[in-house]
Amino acid sequence: MKTAFECTLALLAGPALAARLEISIELPRMAIAEYHRPYVAIWIEKPDQTVAANLAVWHQLQDNSRGEKGTTWLKDLRMWWRKIGRELTMPVDGVSAATRPAGLHRVRFSGARPPLSRLSPGSYQLVVEAAREMGGREVVRVPFDWPASESQLQKAQGRHELGLVQVQVKP
């Protein structure tokens, strides 16, 4: 039986409920003849590199003109595929989204809703993996603490398939 005091504590521990994770991902522009938008996966790992949350996968949602299913190339997000993707039936509501063009993209996740509402306080890594048809693959990791008592900004620079990746934890 929890005491009223513990319940109050639980509520106070709730900054995670109100906290937000704001992620910005730069997909570099490339001066090449044949450019296809990359597949991108975004997830959270614990320090032991096990998966804490599967946040987003940008992939082709429709069959293409040759009738090929967009899920065909999900395995090219190799790390995401091995850790998460092969266990799922894609697309997944709230996770699957269309591919995005080169440029800066912002995505936000609220601590009030799953999966972040289930994230216990601690140190994590945001992992972004990008794989491009006829191109390369890259994984960028950005460490962060969850939740944060004051706004916290972490960043990491990709080298070819990803540009700057920034993670902001807001209280």
Binding site: T72, K75, R78, G85, E87
Partner: protein, 295 residues
């Protein structure tokens, strides 16, 4: 002349086998081993070659091809073609899960006495009973089981298609063969006729031989449970092989062997510096092509 039984059988075996096992490497190379979903296809090249994985000798014959689907059923290859240097076939992956693509050949060598003359025969195990007189005087046989495999997974890896059948040398994938990552330790096991193949040397050779000067091969030895651990240094396709019975690496010619009695007694696990002898000179060979992914 080779007058001993072992000598004759060995001579037959050498005549039948060298092109595939002793001097060349057998393999089946799939177009992909990791696929996102079911209802996709892979195509497979099958060859016997010197270099890995190039077609420079003869095609692998597909008479012993057995493709096991994730539910354990056997499925047929499509678009089968045997070329000058390699065979090819397609596999339609209708079900999600892991497929085992295997070329399994069981050959019997036999000698017996007939009208005062020694007769000999070799052929597939299925034809043995038809072509060799049952209960022939002095009948001696040796069995050779050769298994060449590769693995393909659509979606989540599973294990049903990988179940051993208890004949010859077989792989037990403690680490799944479609879940091998460069730099990570994998644990595998070999069985001989369904029992752990202890103290057996296993050879690994990375593909891409043509474009390097060194073979870059290495060997590991199975433990008492037939298990071994291996770390693949780089991503890529690897050729794995183990052989029991018959001429071993660095050993003398077959005819220098002591003649073997055709008894059914349990073989010694190992004799003479790690060589393994079996009743009647039985042999078994296991070969796999394994893809190792980058992290």
């Amino acid at each position: 002349m080779l007058r001993t039984w072992w000598g004759r059988v060995a001579a037959l075996a050498v005549a039948a086998w060298p092109a595939t096992v002793m001097a060349h490497r057998q393999w089946m190379l799939p177009s992909a081993t990791v696929l996102s979903r079911a209802d996709t296809w892979v195509t497979v090249d099958a060859a016997v070659s010197n270099e890995l994985f190039y077609f420079d000798h003869v095609p692998l014959r597909l008479s012993g091809l057995v493709i096991t689907a994730p539910d354990g059923s056997t499925i047929q290859p499509e678009n089968v073609s045997v070329g000058r240097f390699r065979s090819t076939f397609d596999v339609h992956l209708r079900q999600p899960g892991t497929y085992r693509i295997a070329s399994v050949n069981e050959t019997v060598f036999a000698t017996w006495m007939e009208d005062g003359e020694q007769k000999s025969w070799r052929g597939p195990a299925t034809a043995f009973a038809k072509e060799v007189p049952a209960g022939a005087p002095g009948l001696r046989t040796a069995r050779l089981v050769s298994r060449v495999e590769t693995f393909v997974t659509a979606g989540k890896p599973d294990h049903k298609a990988l179940e051993p059948c208890g004949s010859g040398l077989e792989l037990v994938a403690i680490t799944h063969p479609n879940d091998l990552i460069a730099g990570e330790e994998a644990t595998l096991q070999l069985l001989l006729n369904g029992k752990p193949a202890a103290n057996l040397e296993v050879t690994f050779v990375p593909g891409g031989i043509r474009y390097r000067d060194s073979l870059m091969d290495w060997r590991v030895t199975t433990d008492a449970d037939g298990r071994f651990r291996v770390v693949f240094p780089h991503p890529g396709m690897y050729w794995m092989n183990a052989t029991v019975g018959g001429p071993q690496r660095g050993s003398g010619a077959p005819e220098s062997r002591p003649p073997r009695a055709a008894s059914n007694a349990d073989p010694p696990a190992a004799a003479g510096g790690g060589r393994m002898f079996f009743p009647g000179g039985d042999r078994a060979s296991y070969t796999a092509v394994l893809e190792v992914m980058p992290e």
